[in-house]
């Protein structure tokens, strides 16, 4: 139901602004007018509700307990990460992800302890948007989703149409329990981002553009597992005096 509502909101918002011309001029962000409005909306919700809850959670819960909660959800996530690694042809990484799940679910007491990392099985970061990227699908326009935040057409559709179903929580039969788990996970995620979001607030001249650039760079890096090919641009040329080439 929540998903349906979010989908409707997104469609409505996209439809509402499709006709407006925007002035930002970033080729990755033709929807900048809508996106900035949604960014402000999300920021308002965050400041009013989500961030205070996350701060309270961080203040009340001892660190080892928070780590346990993070580990619990991270462990469930490893299954879908493994599936995506295999879809991308990275069989070794996929096997490692399933190995992590097996080890952490048993020795790590239902995932509360990340013993697999200590055993040398590193945690990966994969989702279906990255799988599509690996298969050569471009990211499409930058889109700020309601509540969920920065995304792209490719990553947003992947999230709603595919990742959501690959998420073990989605398959929890008891709906109130499932929603509680979603809630705790959301608070846990936000609490882990408190330092990063404070940094972004301090570092940015224009928070919207800063977050957009960081998101697009990070996704690109994730698609290539941390080794993206260098982008053509001034980064490659000598220090100065070289005009920027337009990205394709």
């Amino acid at each position: 139901m929540l998903r349906f509502l979010l989908g409707l909101l997104l469609l409505g918002a996209l439809g509402g602004v499709a006709g407006c011309a925007t002035t930002g001029g970033n080729p990755d962000d033709p929807l900048e007018g809508y996106n900035r409005a949604m960014f402000r909306f999300n920021d308002g919700v965050d400041k009013a509700v989500i961030k205070p809850v996350a701060q309270g959670y961080k203040a009340v819960m001892p660190e080892f307990a928070r780590t346990g909660v993070s580990n619990f959800f991270a462990n469930l996530g490893d299954l879908w990460i493994g599936v995506n690694n295999i879809l991308q042809g990275k069989l070794g990484e996929g096997a490692s992800d399933f190995g992590r799940f097996a080890l952490n679910s048993t020795v790590g007491v239902l995932g509360l302890f990340d013993v697999a990392s200590n055993a040398g099985l590193d945690k990966h970061n994969e989702d279906f948007g990255q799988t599509l990227g690996r298969w050569g699908v471009g990211s499409g326009a930058y889109v700020v989703l309601p509540i969920l935040g920065p995304s792209t057409v490719r990553d947003g559709i992947s999230l709603f149409a595919v990742d959501w179903h690959g998420d073990p929580l989605w398959h929890v039969g008891n709906v109130p329990t499932r929603n509680e788990l979603y809630g705790v996970r959301a608070v846990d995620t936000r609490a882990n981002l408190l330092d990063a979001s404070r940094l972004a607030e301090e570092a940015a001249l224009d928070q919207y553009a800063y977050v957009r650039s960081a998101y697009l760079q990070q996704r690109r890096s994730l698609v290539y597992d941390g080794n993206p090919p260098r982008e053509p641009g001034p980064a490659e040329g000598p220090a100065s005096a070289e005009p920027e080439k337009q990205r394709p």
Binding site: G25, D114, L199, L205, D206, P243
Partner: protein, 207 residues
């Protein structure tokens, strides 16, 4: 105070001299080890004493950065439009912003371990990327890559890429927009007012 400054500049000079013929990954390792040792043994820094953190960063870290190149990269296509005085002002303001924003993170250090990936470098290379992974028990490792170039005074860092995000080029969109709207001077002004807003207030801000 004067003696402290003299000692600092001497240390700086010594660091610069020693840095001349050291390999880029060895240099990053040496700097990180030194800084981590100091953080570990200094309670004031752990408690977030900004003055002491700044002194540490000025002495140990900044000599190994090329802020001129960093600023040129961040400004991108607007850089050639700036005159010498504007370039200097941009560099100073950008340096202040980066140092202020990121040096505070040092006080959050908690037993992270830095692992170095093998350096891919051919003889004669003057531009390399030093790849590291920062691991904290119970957390996903975070990659931090340093883009470095060889200069007559040793290897210098000109970009830091954290989890795929370049701290330098991340500013390019904003800087371009500021220059488009208000020219190079508009960007200098925006940076200066941002820096003023970050200056410590009477009451320390909550962590």
């Amino acid at each position: 105070m004067k003696r402290l400054l003299a000692a600092l500049s001497l240390a700086l000079f010594a660091a610069a001299a020693a840095a001349q013929d050291i390999a880029p990954d060895a240099l990053i390792k040496r700097i990180s080890d030194e800084v981590i040792d100091i953080i570990k043994s200094d309670k004031d820094i752990k408690a977030g004493n900004q003055e002491k953190i700044n002194a540490l960063v000025e002495a140990k870290v900044l000599p190994h950065f090329n802020f001129n190149r960093m600023t040129a990269l961040a400004v991108g296509r607007g850089w050639p439009k700036a005159n010498a005085a504007q370039k200097k002002a941009l560099e100073d303001e950008f340096r202040t912003l980066l140092v202020h924003t990121y040096s505070g993170a040092l006080s959050t250090y908690k037993n992270e371990v830095i692992e170095f990936k093998p350096l891919r470098m051919a003889t004669g290379d003057t531009d390399v990327t030093v790849r590291t992974q920062v691991k904290r028990p119970g957390n996903q490792p975070v990659s931090i890559d340093y883009s470095m170039e060889k200069t007559p005074s040793g290897w210098k860092v000109y970009d830091v890429v954290v989890a795929g995000v370049s701290l330098v080029t991340n500013y390019r969109d904003t800087f371009n927009a500021e220059i488009r709207d208000g020219g190079v001077d508009g960007l200098i002004k925006a940076l200066a007012s941002k820096n003023r807003s970050l200056e410590p207030q009477a009451g320390a801000k909550p962590k």
